[in-house]
């Protein structure tokens, strides 16, 4: 643990109650989709911060970290929640630094500067008797505006990536990819939509795009390998962009990107800023997380009681399969993700 932090503290009753409520809403499916979870997390944090009695940076940081720790433990598969906690933590730190008249350029500075600046940095979170709540609320409002705008700012880049007469391929249903393709709709491109694990949603998305005037062909997930030589570009939505430049995408996406890599087709991954995660793609519980078995097989036949159904939630797409990440801020190559991370989060908060 960095020396600038106080001890790990537990939440008081009221806060833990709202955290548990949030968690159970997510688990029971009342809040669905990473983006909604991100928004709800920001709301939760704002509520907790405005209800807390302390106003100084150190105790606020500890509070938010404790909330974050609980969230990450309870929702290991929802990376967006943890990301939002890190963003808010960063906001608190920035605010404190700004008031301490220090450089806001905290993260990613040179080793030399880090060493030299150490004593003053240590002081940054010292107890100060100033009310930080108001500026933090402004930061949170900014963050919320960014979340709201993320889809539109990514879609607005569509025209620079999708060109006329191109054959695009996408895998599974994703609201973001749909918006992106619609925004590119004036260009006369053709789209192959490969069915993901959520077949019905894929079909619905194909129907919506078709009515919007995009020429869509729906193909089975298994046909992707055969079709890949003709494809010009693969567009994928990511559940998360990971620290090493890998992406976490719907189960089955790895097969698509592997085929794309084999045929040297470029893969564009749409990842809004809230999906940028400080996690590295190493083996762990998260990447083996199982979806409810009923997603793969209805509970009906005899086999449902006798067989073991493994329905993985995500595939990790390695960085070498990915040509470009498109974030709110523009395109960036996988090797540049670490830089974005250090701009968004404080390195102290990578581990909540």
């Amino acid at each position: 643990m960095p020396p600038t932090e106080g001890s790990l503290k537990d939440l008081d009753d009221k806060t833990s109650e709202s955290v548990v409520k949030f968690v159970s809403e997510v688990r029971s499916g009342k809040i669905q989709g990473s983006e909604n979870i991100a928004v709800a997390t920001v709301d939760l944090l704002e509520k907790i911060i405005s209800e807390s009695e302390t106003t100084n940076a150190l105790s606020l940081c500890n509070l938010v970290r404790a909330v974050g720790r609980n969230l990450v433990q309870a929702l290991p598969t929802e990376l967006a929640a943890g990301n939002m906690v890190r963003r808010v933590l960063r906001a608190i730190r920035d605010e404190q630094r700004a008031h301490a008249n220090q450089s806001v350029e905290g993260a990613g500075e040179s080793l030399q500067r880090l060493v030299l600046a150490a004593p003053s940095r240590r002081a940054t979170l010292g107890p100060a008797a100033r009310d930080l709540k108001e500026p933090i609320r402004d930061h949170i409002a900014e963050l919320r505006a960014e979340l709201d705008a993320s889809t539109s700012s990514i879609s607005s880049q569509a025209r620079s990536h999708v060109h006329a007469d191109e054959l695009l391929l996408t895998y599974g249903a994703s609201a973001l990819v749909e918006c992106f393709l619609r925004a590119a709709g004036t260009r006369r491109f053709r789209l192959l939509l490969a069915e993901g694990p959520d077949v019905a949603e894929s079909h619905a998305m194909a129907a919506r795009l078709a009515t919007a005037g995009v020429s869509v062909a729906l193909v089975g997930g298994a046909a992707v390998g055969a079709l890949m030589p003709r494809v010009n570009k693969v567009v994928l939505g990511a559940a998360a962009a990971l620290a090493g430049g890998a992406a976490l995408a719907t189960a089955g996406a790895l097969a698509v990107t592997a085929a794309a890599a084999h045929h040297a087709v470029s893969v564009v991954v749409l990842s809004p800023l809230w999906s940028l995660s400080a996690l590295h793609a190493r083996g762990g519980q998260l990447f083996e997380a199982l979806a409810p078995a009923s997603r793969a097989l209805p509970y009906q036949g005899v086999e449902s009681a006798l067989v073991r159904v493994e329905a993985p939630l995500y595939d990790v797409v390695p960085p070498e399969h990915i040509t470009l990440f498109i974030t709110n801020l523009g395109g960036s190559s996988p090797s540049y993700i670490y830089r974005l991370l250090s701009e968004l989060y404080d390195p102290n908060d990578y581990q909540l």
Binding site: Q73, L290, A291, Y299, Q300, G301, V309
Partner: protein, 647 residues
């Protein structure tokens, strides 16, 4: 605020199963605390209520309510997710013996405000209760009498949840999902034909038959349900209720509907050890999402997933050479030693498993010690048990604190620890010669099936109870089942009334209520009451049968005169005497005397007697040549001639 309260969905959870399918485990601990895949059932139920949109739960305990109260209190202190949004109310009543009693109690106390959800503590599901309740309300708008919507899960007919439980045949109107017929069969029943009432087909343009439904013990009820239970005090359980409503649909002005869960939803009821096992595996296989093995750990994710649906707590320890094959759950601080092999099993906290142990399909609770070279297959071993070396257990259910001796070889036993003389702990084995008998333990109630684990992993027929005591007591009786049960009930109530000197008025009430429960015709009632009087258990033991019969007739005179009034009822009465004298050995050869007693008590008249005697001769009944009968009629003839003479 008032309005808010009305919109909160209420659920009534009945915390007892009112059967002995889980004995001896259910004796000490309430059913609600039975761990399923490491989590007490009550946690699943409350969690599923919350995620289904229920705001208030009424837990109705009939026994062990203290333990449930403690558990709920502890959960609230720990801020378990459901405790925040769910208002839990625990009601306890020791006097309730059946589900019907519970409903009457609920009606009397006015606990429910309107539409509510009724489920048993054994229901494991992930359905959306709020949506179903809305659907039921829509049904009620179309049909004012809609009392209940039953929730079923459709599965293939060979599915273990169906084949290990009472199978259900449901005839429904295909258009409006109204239930027309509801019939439950015993597990693996040999019945090959189905009888469907004709009007069922004639009056409805589309009739669907279902025998592939899992009853998850969930029902959406209208406000009229508790009063219906109160009005019909013979409704003992939900099946009684369903039958009662279906038979008297016009009188009670109520009807039943059904609905099926979606393909992706899960619903099952734990009714016996086999369904327990199936549900445990389903939970482990993540079919019941969002309910999972983490449900009680307050989302702390203390499990480590090892692939192949093997989960272990992070602080459990596995030896390097032990093998976990598939579908295994290992609890906290449990240690599994060298060369042991575990498959399809749940192991609780703080257990120690020795070397070279084989565990398959078993459920091992907390603090169990299993020593070297044991083999445990399809068994349930409760807390604090010790299994000594070289033991071989198959299909065993062991209650807590049992110590299984070294080298014992047990198949299909139920082990109960009994305490004698202070601390001297001995082992009581519920003995069984063939290992098939232990499923027949359920001598208490006629509708229980005690289904245990298979000893071998096959669906052997022997695992199901064949006949229950009520039927087997009259093995050669040609009487159909319902009337047979009715007779047994009448005998029971009369015997009790005689012993406890109850008022005959009450007994008449009791008999009448049994009559409606089994739908017995009036002439049959007359027959059975007399038959029951002559079959009372007291007659079996007594030395002077006739004087006892005389006492009985004298005591029950009001009962008899209530039923035997008309000419035809007297004939019923005499037929009953005939039947009793043939079937009951203690009345052998005493038919004449019995009839004499009846004649003297002015229950039967002369004309009917003579008519009956003619019938006897016509039907070549074995009684007609009995000396006592012949003598009696000779005497009767003389007596009547004498009286004529005197005129």
């Amino acid at each position: 605020m008032e309005n808010d309260k009305e919109n909160i969905i209420q659920a009534v959870v009945i915390m007892d199963l009112f059967n002995n399918n889980f004995e001896p485990i259910s004796n000490k601990n309430p059913m609600g605390l039975l761990p399923v895949a490491g989590v007490p059932i009550i946690d699943y139920v409350l969690e599923s209520l919350v995620s289904g949109g229920v705001g208030e739960a009424i837990l109705f305990c009939c026994q062990d309510s203290l333990q449930i109260k403690d558990h709920v209190k502890k959960c609230k202190e720990n801020k378990v997710p459901w405790s925040i949004t769910l208002d839990v109310q625990i009601i306890s009543s020791d006097t309730c013996q059946t589900m019907g009693d519970v409903m009457r109690e609920i009606d009397a106390a006015g606990l429910v405000r309107g539409y509510f959800i009724l489920l048993g503590i054994n229901s494991i599901t992930n359905i959306n209760f709020a949506a179903l309740l809305e659907q039921h309300k829509q049904t009620c708008k179309k049909d004012k009498g809609a009392a209940m919507t039953l929730v079923y899960k459709e599965v293939a007919w060979q599915h273990p949840l169906l084949s290990n439980d009472k199978t259900l045949l449901l005839a429904v109107d295909g258009r409006n999902h109204k239930i027309l017929m509801h019939q439950k069969y015993k597990p693996k029943s040999k019945e090959t034909s189905v009888s469907l009432p004709l009007e069922c087909v004639l009056q409805h343009s589309e009739v669907k038959l279902h025998n592939n439904l899992v009853d998850a013990n969930i029902a959406i009820c209208s406000p009229s349900v508790p009063p219906l239970f109160s009005d019909n005090f013979d409704f003992q359980n939900r099946d009684d209720f369903i039958h009662g409503i279906l038979i008297n649909e016009d009188i009670l002005a109520s009807s039943l509907y059904y609905t099926m869960m979606k393909e992706t939803q899960y619903g099952a009821a734990i009714t016996n050890w086999k369904t327990y096992q199936t549900v445990c595996w389903d939970i482990l296989h993540n079919w019941v999402y969002p309910l999972s093995i983490e449900t009680d750990s307050f989302y702390k994710n203390t499990f480590m997933y090892m692939g192949r649906h093997i989960f272990r707590k992070t602080n459990s320890s596995l030896s390097r050479s032990c093998t976990l094959v598939e579908d295994v759950l290992v609890g906290a601080k449990t240690h599994i030693s060298d060369m042991s092999r575990v498959s399809k099993s749940m192991i609780g906290n703080n257990c120690t498993i020795g070397n070279h142990v084989i565990i398959h399909g078993s459920h091992i609770m907390n603090n169990v010690v299993i020593k070297d070279n044991c083999q445990i297959i399809n068994s349930f071993i409760n807390d604090n048990c010790i299994v000594e070396m070289n033991s071989n257990l198959e299909g065993v259910v062991a209650s807590d604190n049992v110590c299984i001796e070294e080298g014992s070889n047990l198949k299909g036993n139920i082990l109960v620890e009994t305490i004698k003389n202070g601390n001297d702990i001995t082992l009581k084995k519920t003995s069984s010669e063939s290992g098939t008998e232990w499923e027949n333990e359920s001598s208490g109630k006629e509708d229980d099936e005690y289904v245990g684990f298979d000893e071998e992993w096959s669906n052997s027929e022997s695992c199901y109870s064949s006949d229950s005591s009520a039927e087997s007591s009259l093995p050669d009786s040609p009487i159909p089942e319902d009337t047979n049960i009715f007779l047994q009930e009448v005998i029971d109530s009369l015997a009790r009334g005689y012993e406890e000197n109850l008022k005959c008025d009450y007994l008449i009430l009791e008999i009448n209520s049994s009559r409606y429960a089994y739908n017995i015709q009036l002439h049959e009632v007359n027959f059975f009451v007399v038959r029951a009087l002559l079959s009372m258990p007291i007659l079996e033991d007594t030395k002077s049968v006739l004087s006892t019969v005389k006492d009985i007739l004298k005591y029950f005179r009001p009962v008899i005169s209530n039923y035997i009034k008309t000419k035809s009822s007297i004939m019923d009465c005499l037929k009953a005497v005939e039947d009793s004298c043939i079937k009951n050995i203690w009345l052998d050869g005493k038919a004449g005397q019995i009839i004499h007693l009846l004649y003297e008590a002015d229950i039967v008249d002369e004309d009917s007697l003579l008519e009956w005697y003619e019938d006897l001769k016509e039907n070549e009944s074995p009684l007609k040549d009995q000396t006592s009968i012949v003598k009696f009629f000779e005497w009767l003839q003389e007596a009547s001639e004498e009286s004529e003479d005197s005129d």
